[in-house]
Structures are given as structure tokens and as C-alpha cells.
Symmetry: C2
Subunit: 226 residues, 2 copies
């Protein structure tokens, strides 16, 4: 056989394993994902899978990065469809919720409770940051345009300023206190709403999730002065 076959096979098989794991994740969720089932799907010995991923956790990490990237791409596209700043924000927000509804198990993997003892490796943070980057870019653009924030935005304490400095300084030019404050609330509210809805805590409380989500993000857009 020509040289390079082994490297090519390795790359192919790695992708095949990841693809099978991806299907399993989407269908039965991260908790039920089984290495042996992947091996059966690919008609190989279960021990052979461990030549490509050292553990089930490593496989989940790869899926985690994939999910973060997929969500990040979806949110970026959702923001890109907007003509003005407000549409960019609502587009991104609806894209976030839409992706979560379409990929509930992937959302659970990324933003649900982490498996005990699992520490997300450094490789994940770049992908995990993409959603926040979209949001912060919109807020920065609003600040640059000189739009006034919604009424009633509070003053920062000095302690708070240093506490959230990494957020303020994430974009260029950096966010001022008031924009940082509102951005943080928006961040928590968006993921709070999606998690509460997806994890069933709005059952029998909210009858029309999409309508309500729309109302919430319009309120948030107002608060951001968009």
C-alpha cells in the first residue's frame, strides 16, 4: 500500500466516530452516549475506538466544541441578517433560541449541568466565546453610535468595574460602565429564558413560548437603547 494510507484512514475514522457520536448525541443525549454503540455502528471493536479518543470524556469534549461552534455560527448568521442594530440583536437572540430548540441535547451539553468532575479544556473556550462576542459587538456598536441606553441604568461601583473588566475590555473600544451593565443583564436573561423554557420550567406558566420570548427580547432591546 502507498504511504500515507494510515494517516488518511486515521483522519477518516476519527471523523466517522465523531459523526456517529454526533448522531447519538442528537438522538439520545450526552448522558446516554455509548462508546460501544458507536463501535457497533461502525462495525469495529469497542476497544479500537479508544485508539482515536482516549476516553468517553474526550469524545464528549469534541462534541462540546462542535456544538459551541455550531451555535456560534447560527447566532452569527442570525445577527448578520439584521439591517440595523436592533435587528441584529433580535436576529441573534432568535437564532440562539431557535438553535436550542432544534438541538436540545446539544444545548444541554453546552449550557446544562456539566457532568461531575468535568472541567472544560482550554480548546473549548474559543468556541464558547462566539455567542458572547456577537452580543458584545452589537452593544459596542450601539455605544459607538452614541445611542442612549434605556432609562434607569444604574451606576457602577468601583468593585463591579474591576469585576467585569474582562467583559468591558473584550471589545474595542471598550464598553463603558452602563453598556457593560446592560449587556451582562441581557446575557443572563437570554440564556435564562432559553434554559427555563427548554428544561421545562415554564410548563403551565407560559402558554406561547415564542410570543413571550419575542416580548422579552424587545424589552431587552429597549433597555440596550437599540
Amino acid at each position: 500500500m502507498p504511504p500515507g494510507t494510515r494517516a488518511a484512514n486515521r483522519s477518516e475514522l476519527t471523523q466517522a466516530i465523531l459523526a456517529s457520536a454526533s448522531v447519538q448525541l442528537a438522538e439520545i443525549g450526552p448522558a446516554a452516549l455509548s462508546v460501544r454503540q458507536i463501535a457497533r455502528d461502525l462495525e469495529m471493536a469497542s476497544s479500537a475506538v479508544y485508539r482515536y479518543f482516549p476516553s468517553r470524556d474526550a469524545l464528549l469534549t469534541a462534541l462540546l466544541i462542535q456544538a459551541f461552534d455550531d451555535l456560534g455560527r447560527a447566532v452569527e448568521e442570525g445577527a448578520a441578517t439584521g439591517a440595523d442594530l436592533r435587528d441584529r440583536f433580535t436576529g441573534a437572540a432568535h437564532a440562539l433560541r431557535g438553535w436550542a430548540l432544534a438541538h436540545p441535547h446539544e444545548y444541554a451539553l453546552t449550557y446544562g449541568s456539566p457532568v461531575p468532575g468535568y472541567a472544560a479544556p482550554t480548546e473549548t473556550v474559543a468556541s464558547a466565546t462566539r455567542v458572547a462576542a456577537v452580543l458584545l459587538a452589537i452593544v459596542r456598536d450601539a455605544q459607538v453610535e452614541g445611542r442612549p441606553l434605556g432609562a434607569g441604568t444604574r451606576q457602577f461601583s468601583a468593585a463591579e468595574r474591576t469585576a467585569v473588566a474582562p467583559i468591558s475590555d473584550f471589545v474595542e473600544p471598550a464598553l463603558d460602565d452602563a453598556h457593560t451593565a446592560r449587556a451582562m443583564v441581557v446575557w443572563a436573561t437570554l440564556f435564562g429564558h432559553v434554559s427555563l423554557e427548554l428544561f421545562g420550567h415554564m410548563n403551565n406558566a407560559v402558554l406561547d413560548y415564542k410570543e413571550h420570548f419575542t416580548t422579552v427580547i424587545e424589552q431587552l432591546a429597549d433597555d440596550l437603547g437599540l
Copy 2:
């Protein structure tokens, strides 16, 4: 042996199983909870545990109700310490975050990703409602006192009004549109912040969680007009 011994033993053993499960939950989390380990703790056969709880899921449901009640009690106490409406709100909010930090695995069980295919039985909703009840009572009291909401609260659409009617009508007298809208945002923001913090999504972004959380809830209190 006197009659009634069996019923008493059953009640005692049920509690003992629940107690052992509770310890396991706190230490290693819901995913790692093992029926066999509980049996070993209590020095009984693993099959005997199934006379008291028909499945591992039933055991988790009992723990879920326990956790919801414990959280509800903590938030109710946190609210009770407040002299005025604003202190009741901030007290409840800090109690929520404090409980979550003290009981991360229990918080993951209640507000993290549910296990696949698990549908919370009806018995859980009463306990799960307690936190929302505290929040909505505060907002209702603010409305009754005639306090003005923070500036910039949006108008409801008719569709949104019916969508969140169960929330508005949860308290007596019912919340008006504006108070309902702000209450829903506050609800999502509180759990969003706690989940993001607890599940590690604020790592390297927020340096002082408590300071930031305080800032956020002061902003929310302003928005609620407290």
C-alpha cells in the same frame, strides 16, 4: 412482634434510603448516584431497595422534590428577612444564589439539564413553584402599593397577554401587563445568572461573582420599581 412493626420499619427504611441518597447526591451528583452504593451504605441487598423505590428515577424524583422544597424554604427565608419590598427582593435573590452555591449538585438536579426522557411527575410542581411564588408576591405587593416601574417598560401585545396569563393570575390581585413583563425578565435573569455562574460560563469573564450578582439584582430591583 407487636403489630405495626412492619409499617414503622418501612417508614424508617424509606427515610434511611432517602438520607443515604441525599448524601450521595450532595457529594457526587445525580448522574453518579448509585442504588447499589446506597444498599452497601445501609448494609442491605441492592434488590431490597427496590421494595421502597421502584426505580432509580423514582429515587431521583424524591430527591428532586426535596431539593425544590429546600430551595423554596431558603428563598422564602431570604425574603422574610427584608424590611421593605426592595430588601425582600434582594434577600430572596441572594438566598437563591447562596443556596445554589451551597448545593451545586442539587441545583443541577433542579435547574440543570433534565435526564433524557425524564418527565417531572405532578408531585414536583407544587415544590417547584415556591421560588416563583415568592418573586411574584413581591411584584404584586409593589403593584398594590402603587410604586412606578422602572422607565422604559414596554406595552404588551394581546398575544403576549394570553401567553403569560397563568403568571399574571398566579397572585391575587392579578399582575398588570407591565408588572408581569418585568417579573418575567427578572425570573429569567436570576436563574440565567446563577446557572451561568455555577456551570462555569463566567470563568475568566467575571472576576467577582458576588459583586456582579449584587449589581445585577440592584438593577433588577430598579427595573421593578422597588
